[in-house]
Every structure is written in structure tokens, then in C-alpha cells.
Amino acid sequence: MECLDEQLVEYASGGAIAVTGPNPCGTPTGNHYLYREMMQKIYVEHELVLGRIVYDAKCRIINQYFPVDSLYGPAVLINLLGDPALRIKYGPPVMVGETKATGAPDISLAVYPNPCRKITTICIGHRTPVRRSGASLQDFQTESMELQIFNIQGRLIRYFSLCPMPYALCWEGTDQGGSPVPSGVYFVRATADGISETKTILLIR
């Protein structure tokens, strides 16, 4: 018999659009860490692409807690039953005629985990909370921004053009050509409308 998760996804007249699971259960701490990361992705980093939420949460837990089985095991075993490109309809939709906030952006830049072994997630957002009072994420988005990663010598090794904020991306420790960069200190700089924010990344291979 199919598990409950599958039946919820497959049911034609209702149910769920996607499910994460089944998972081995039995490890409340490990599962909790994983799902805490998923909620972090939605509520703090405002990521709404389902596959990205699951993927980033798994990467962080595996990267951070390897080789502690009870903590990274659930992340390895969790399945996404659904379309990974699905965009979660969390939050009120943008209303036609709403005006965007104006003024200089107030950039926040977070790198997690840091130090990192292989992959780290770079989150760019606003210091000011962007939701509530009926506001949607889009109300506060700037038109474009740039993210650059420099090595300790100040040489630009990787850049991204991003649009719009808030945004999160995974850096796999590679340069613009896709080649792995060596262990060391790197600097990530986000720039939007002439305002910059810089953070240090420690890559340990």
C-alpha cells in the first residue's frame, strides 16, 4: 500500500501539491534540524521555490553535521514528492497598482554555513522586515544587484548578476570557469544601487 504522503499528492480532488518525506522518523533531533532549515529558507530568506528550499536545507545539514548519522542521515534520506520547480504560494499576491518602496536599499548579507567545506549559501535581503502589514516581498525588491566573490589577493574569482532581492544562492567553491578554488579566505560583496555589503567566507577543503 502506498504511504500517506504519496496518497496526498496523487489524490485528484484535493490533498497536497507536494510532500517532503517519507523519512525514517525515529530521529526527532535530526529531522527537526532539517525542517528548521526549511522554515528558515521560507520565513527568513524568503525562498519560495520548493526544490530550492529542500535542497538548501539538505546541503546545510549534511555539510554541517557530517558524519553524525543521527543528524545528517535524515537529510540524506528525505525525498521530495512533487515538482521541484514549484513555487510555493506563500504570502499575499502582489496587487495591481501597488507602489514599490523607494529609497536606498538596506542590504543584509548572510553566509551559512561559514566556515564551509564544499557548499555555502549566500543570502541577500533587506535588514528591514519585508513582510507583514499586508506587504508582499515584491514591494521591497530592487531592480537588480550584483554579487562578487574575491580571493585574499583581491582578485575577482566569481560574480553573479541577480534580480531581484531577496535572493539566496549556493556557492560551490568554484571560480567563474567552474574550477574548484583552494582553501582560504574569500570575500563576498553584494551591491545594489551603489550600496555595498561585504562578508568573509572561510573555505576549508
Binding site: 500517506l4 496523487e10 480532488s13 497536497a16 510532500v19 525542517y35 534520506l77 510555493i88 507583514r132
Partner: protein
């Protein structure tokens, strides 16, 4: 066998107008191609996936689709799971652009069988104890651990665990409805949060750290608040009233398939037939 071949030809003919432009049909084009969104499907479901291909295409993703029979013949190995992984390794190494998303279409059945349309890699047990003494788990993660000697996935993967073309059509229709319907309403900030008695501390953390600060409307269905009939009824009502996220912070059971607590059943598979919700939650089934 002849019947199968005839059916395959008929199926391809039927689906050709819908998805021919996305379907990879030769080994050469499987070895060297490019896409943002790659579907790997059992041939039974190809015809049902045309609308999903067009949706993703219309949203700006380059879409390609490949059937498992071509994967198995192009990347022969000792098992179908190894063939699929070899294929994805090739895709990861040589496709330009390299796909961001991998969608597997087809159910898996441990040990093979009629419903093993697209097999799942089986992971050995980890060192911790599993509920119910389970020692192996199917997990798609292995398919996308393609760089380095670690368990970190290198592509984003999901699966539609369907068993028939009709079921695949249903799931695709739900996705299309979800993505294309202008479904404004309070459901988009409503959370269904359940908890078994022993997992309430975790449910409360999600409640206090994420849902409440965001101002979401939270439907709390905790085991401590009722008994099996009342908890099951409240779950059906919560689904039917609409929620954007369902967070079952409880246990799972397989007989029957259920969300359960220590003493009561919170929701089980016989309740699904009472669901009539036209807006669908993502269920983050944390266990």
C-alpha cells in the same frame, strides 16, 4: 512483447504533438544536450507530461524529457538505478546548460514489482535506530550526488510517484492549477500545524519562531487537544478550509498509512476521500 511495443508506439504517437519538442529520442542527444529542467520518466507517463513541459517552458525554463528505456539502453549497467545515475552523471558533466531541476516520474517499489516504474536507490541503515525496526530506506538523493565523495546533492531533485497515466494526469493537473490559478485568499498565510504529544516542543518552536512572527493564521491540531475522531475531523476541515503549508510534527504509521501520536490517530488514508480542497498545501512531513 509485441503488445508492449505496439502500445509504446501508440503512446508516442499520441503524445508526440504535445511533447515531441521536449523528448530526447536518440542516444547522441542524450549524451550531449542542455536544459534547466530535465524530466526522467517511465514511458507510460510521457503523454501526460506535455502540459507540465509547456508550463515550465512558458515560465522560462529550458525543458528536456527522457524516457527510462532510452536511459537504460544508453547507459547499461547491472541495475536500473545505476543506469539512471550514470545518465545523470553524464548530464551533470557534459550538458550545457547543466539542469537545475531533475524530475523523476514514476513510482518505485522496493524489491521490484508491478509498481516499480522508476526504481529508487536503497540506502543502508545509518547507525541510529529507526522507528519500527526499518533498516533500509529508498532515497533519491543518491541519484544527484554527482561531484565529490560526499552525500551532498549537486542537483535539485523531486519525484512524482505515480502508478498510472491517469494518476500522472491528475498530478499534472494539480500542478497546473496551482501554478496558473489566481488563488488569492487567506489560505496563502494559513498553516496547518499538528503535533503528537511528544513532538509538541518542536511544533511550538516552528509556531513561535516562524509562523507567529510572520503573522500567519495557524490551525493547531495537537494530540493533547482531543481524541482520534475529533483530531481526524479537524484535519479534514483544515485541509478543506485551505492552507498553504501543512506541518505534521507527529509520527507516521504504515498500517494504515497515518499521521499518529502516542495514543491517537491524527489523520489517516481513509480520511483522504473526504478532502475537497481546491487549494493545496505543501506538506512538510517532518516525523
Amino acid at each position: 512483447m509485441k503488445t508492449i511495443l505496439k502500445c509504446s508506439c501508440l503512446l508516442f504517437t499520441l503524445c508526440a504533438p504535445l511533447c515531441a519538442q521536449y523528448l530526447i529520442t536518440t542516444p547522441d542527444s542524450l549524451l550531449s544536450n542542455g536544459a534547466d529542467y530535465l524530466i526522467v520518466t517511465h514511458p507510460n507517463f510521457t503523454a501526460s507530461l506535455g502540459p507540465l513541459c509547456r508550463l515550465r517552458d512558458s515560465l522560462g525554463l529550458t525543458v528536456r524529457m527522457v524516457q527510462t528505456d532510452l536511459v537504460y539502453s544508453t547507459f547499461p549497467d547491472t541495475s536500473h538505478t545505476k543506469s539512471i545515475r550514470l545518465c545523470l552523471q553524464r548530464v551533470y558533466n557534459y550538458w550545457n546548460p547543466r539542469p537545475t531541476y531533475i524530475l523523476l516520474v514514476g513510482d518505485a517499489q522496493r524489491g521490484g514489482g508491478a509498481n516499480d516504474f522508476l526504481p529508487v536507490p536503497v540506502f543502508p541503515k545509518f547507525n541510529y535506530d529507526y522507528a519500527g525496526g526499518i533498516t533500509q530506506h529508498g532515497a533519491d538523493n543518491w541519484y544527484v550526488t554527482l561531484a565529490g565523495n560526499d552525500s551532498i546533492p549537486d542537483l535539485i531533485i523531486g519525484r512524482l510517484p505515480v502508478n498510472s497515466a491517469a494518476m500522472c494526469q491528475n498530478v499534472v493537473n494539480k500542478i497546473l492549477s496551482y501554478e496558473t490559478t489566481d488563488s488569492a485568499g487567506p489560505w496563502r498565510t494559513t498553516i496547518l500545524l499538528n503535533s503528537s504529544t511528544d513532538r509538541q516542543v518542536y511544533a511550538d518552536e516552528y509556531l513561535n519562531n516562524y509562523f507567529r512572527p510572520a503573522g500567519d493564521s495557524v490551525v493547531k491540531i495537537y494530540e493533547s487537544q482531543g481524541n482520534s475522531p475529533s483530531l481526524r475531523t479537524r484535519h479534514i476541515q483544515a485541509f478543506n478550509n485551505g492552507a498553504v503549508i501543512a506541518m505534521p510534527a507527529c509520527h507516521g504509521s504504515s498500517s494504515p498509512p497515518s499521521w499518529v501520536g502516542a495514543s491517537y490517530t491524527l489523520f489517516n488514508n481513509s480520511d483522504i476521500s473526504s478532502l475537497t480542497n481546491q487549494v493545496y498545501p505543501i506538506a512538510f512531513g517532518r516525523g
